[in-house]
């Protein structure tokens, strides 16, 4: 097994996620992109775990999943509040605050 391939793959997934957060307008899609980034980190953690033969990376992956779940709770609460007031989840329309 060549670990580099997995690291490169996780890098690609991470980049897709990062680009998604920066470019997509819908808050929910932006948020899903963040989740993609977290999962890319999980892949890198597990790859590292395999390379070094330690359990730390696998444990980290579980922690990250739990944190991601907590983040979903908070994130959706905020997005739904915004949606109820504005009837839109677009991050571009949330622009009362500038400069």
């Amino acid at each position: 097994m060549n670990p580099n391939a997995y690291l490169v793959l996780s890098g690609i997934i991470f980049s897709i996620g990062a680009i998604g957060v920066l470019l997509r307008r819908n808050a929910i899609v932006a948020f899903m992109s963040v989740e993609l980034m977290l999962n890319a980190a999980n892949l890198a953690f597990v790859t590292g775990s395999r390379v070094w033969g330690t359990l730390d990376g696998q444990t980290a992956a579980f922690f990250v999943m739990v944190v991601a779940a907590a983040e979903v709770v908070v994130g959706l609460a905020i997005i739904i509040t915004i949606f109820r007031t504005r009837n839109s989840a677009s991050v571009d329309e949330a622009s009362l605050l500038r400069w």
Binding site: G11, W52, V74, T81, R84, L97
Partner: protein, 518 residues
């Protein structure tokens, strides 16, 4: 088979006494959740106040009693480092958070109640909101959220492991995203602030996490000390290491609001309820810089020559951009937000010199800045109009004639931000600049001096507006607060003056303790 596996996993050691500040705050948060579940809502506020303030008091005494030379150790299997800076940061966070808690508790200023929405779930401006306000309901969930955020911060500044750092960061940030969106007045702005804070905060956490994952893949460990060893011994694929450090740096700099990752700061600070803003600008700032210090000095300390130029550039940009944009602000809250950005730059100046006095200088700067900023935001809550806080600067004309006390105290904090001698700001700026010069960053200090001259302009402008202009008709009025806000303002003012007049006491105390354990 199972037996051999079990033998290779050591039984975790867990030093409950040394970790008690974190545990007490965490327990308080859990108790707060139970209060929400079981007490009728008219009794909740009182119960929360008791729990939160008792917990902060206990945690603070636990910090003071244990922070001596005997209490410095790597605990919880080496994942938490309770060293001099760790204890100092924990103590500072608890004190500053206590002042913010006093502002959270204030309910006399606004005739409608405290600074938070009566029911966060109601539509802004809708019928339900009016009913909830009329019934005097309160969103008491802010208290457990607040306690969770503090326990996260206490863990964040002492985390000695990238995974613990990440979890602590989330425990600290998630409640803040919610708190940002709970303002009673101008709720649309507040909700928008929460959304922006959440999306950008989650992005920053994800970047930090991916950096941690790459660091682990490179060094084979998550623990700072072993990462440092791993970096020194490994000599292959420096590209992976560079990417790892860059990503961790971006994630952390995002959290401290350094340029070019500062865009969220003004929006979030302006939109959030002012007590929450004071919490973010005070305690959260201390925590974020504390974490940054530890990661870069301990984990990536071997590579100081590689990351130092990066920090120099970021520090210079942060000071200049923050100060220049603050010049153009017409809103006081937004001006303080940019001031927070530019102060972050000054802290990074001290950060760039990795000597022991530099660590002390950064810690002193954090203390001085945190107290002054909480004081300034506390005063802002007193200056009001019918529709809520009056934060448009131009309307503050002649405030010094209406209320010399409020305007005078505000001037004190402005002078401290500007770094005028005899205030804490001078002690702080002098410290970081001296440390940076001895660390060889003279050019950066020159930029810093110019930036602080620019910054002085907008701080002094506030004073001139308040004292040397005629009051405008229908201008803002000053409200007399309850004991909560009074204590918060008095304490901030006292710290600002003491740190300015007798800095040596604090400097000696902190210098003697500014060594990181690894």
């Amino acid at each position: 088979m199972i037996q051999t596996v079990l033998n290779t996993i050591p039984t975790p050691s867990f030093e409950y006494a040394l970790l008690s500040p974190i545990l007490v705050m965490f327990l308080a948060a859990c108790l707060g959740v139970l209060v929400e579940a079981f007490l009728p809502h008219e009794k909740r506020r009182f119960a929360h106040l008791i729990i939160v303030f008792t917990a902060i008091l206990f945690a603070f005494f636990a910090v003071v009693l244990q922070s001596g030379p005997n209490g410095r150790a790597l605990v919880a299997n080496g994942t938490v480092a309770l060293d001099g800076p760790g204890w100092i940061l924990q103590g500072t966070i608890l004190l500053v958070a206590a002042l913010s808690a006093l502002l959270f508790a204030e309910s006399k200023i606004d005739p409608l109640g405290d600074a938070f929405a009566a029911r966060a779930s109601t539509l802004p401006g809708g019928e339900e909101e009016k009913i909830a306000t009329k019934l005097g309901w309160a969103q008491t969930e802010i208290w457990p959220l607040f306690s969770f955020a503090i326990s996260g911060m206490l863990l964040f500044v002492t985390a000695n492991d990238l995974l613990v750092l990440f979890v602590a960061l989330e425990v600290m940030s998630l409640p803040l995203y919610l708190l940002a969106g709970l303002a009673r007045r101008r709720r649309l702005l507040s909700q928008e602030a929460a959304l922006k804070y959440f999306i950008l905060g989650a992005l920053a956490s994800a970047i930090l996490l991916f950096g941690s994952a790459l660091t682990y893949a490179y060094t084979g460990s998550l623990e700072f000390g072993q990462i440092s060893n791993g970096i020194s011994s490994a000599n292959n694929s420096p590209g992976l290491l560079t990417a790892a450090i860059a990503l961790v740096a971006v994630g952390m700099l995002f959290k401290v609001g350094a340029v070019p990752f500062h865009q969220w700061v003004p929006d979030v600070y302006t939109g959030s309820p002012t007590p929450v803003t004071s919490f973010m600008a005070g305690a959260v700032k201390v925590a974020a810089f504390g974490g940054l210090l530890r990661v870069f000095y301990v984990a990536f300390g071997a590579l100081v020559w590689d990351w130092r130029p990066l920090i120099w550039v970021v520090a210079g940009l942060t000071m200049v951009v923050g100060s220049v944009i603050a010049l153009a602000q017409s809103d006081f809250k937004r001006m303080l937000a940019y001031s927070s950005v530019s102060n972050g730059g000054f802290i990074l100046v001290g950060f760039s010199a990795t000597s022991r006095p530099a660590i002390a200088a950064v810690l002193i700067y954090l203390i001085a800045y945190a107290f002054a900023t909480v004081g300034a935001f506390a005063l802002l809550t007193l200056i009001r109009e019918q529709a809520g806080e009056s934060s448009t600067l131009i309307r503050w004309k002649g405030l010094g004639k209406k209320s010399p006390l409020v305007a005078g105290l505000m001037s004190l904090f402005m002078l401290s931000f500007a770094g005028i001698p005899l205030t804490s700001g001078f002690t702080a700026k002098f410290g970081v600049f001296t440390a940076a010069i001895s660390g060889g960053a003279t050019a950066l200090v020159l930029v810093g001096v110019i930036a602080s001259a620019i910054a002085a302009v907008f701080y002094i402008r506030v004073i001139i507006l308040m004292f040397f202009s005629e009051p405008i008709p229908e201008g803002p009025f000053v409200v007399v607060p309850s004991i909560f806000t009074t204590i918060a303002i008095t304490a901030s003012a006292v710290v600002t003056i003491i740190l300015g007049l007798f800095p040596q006491v604090v400097i000696d105390l902190i210098s003697s303790a500014s060594v990181f354990l690894r």
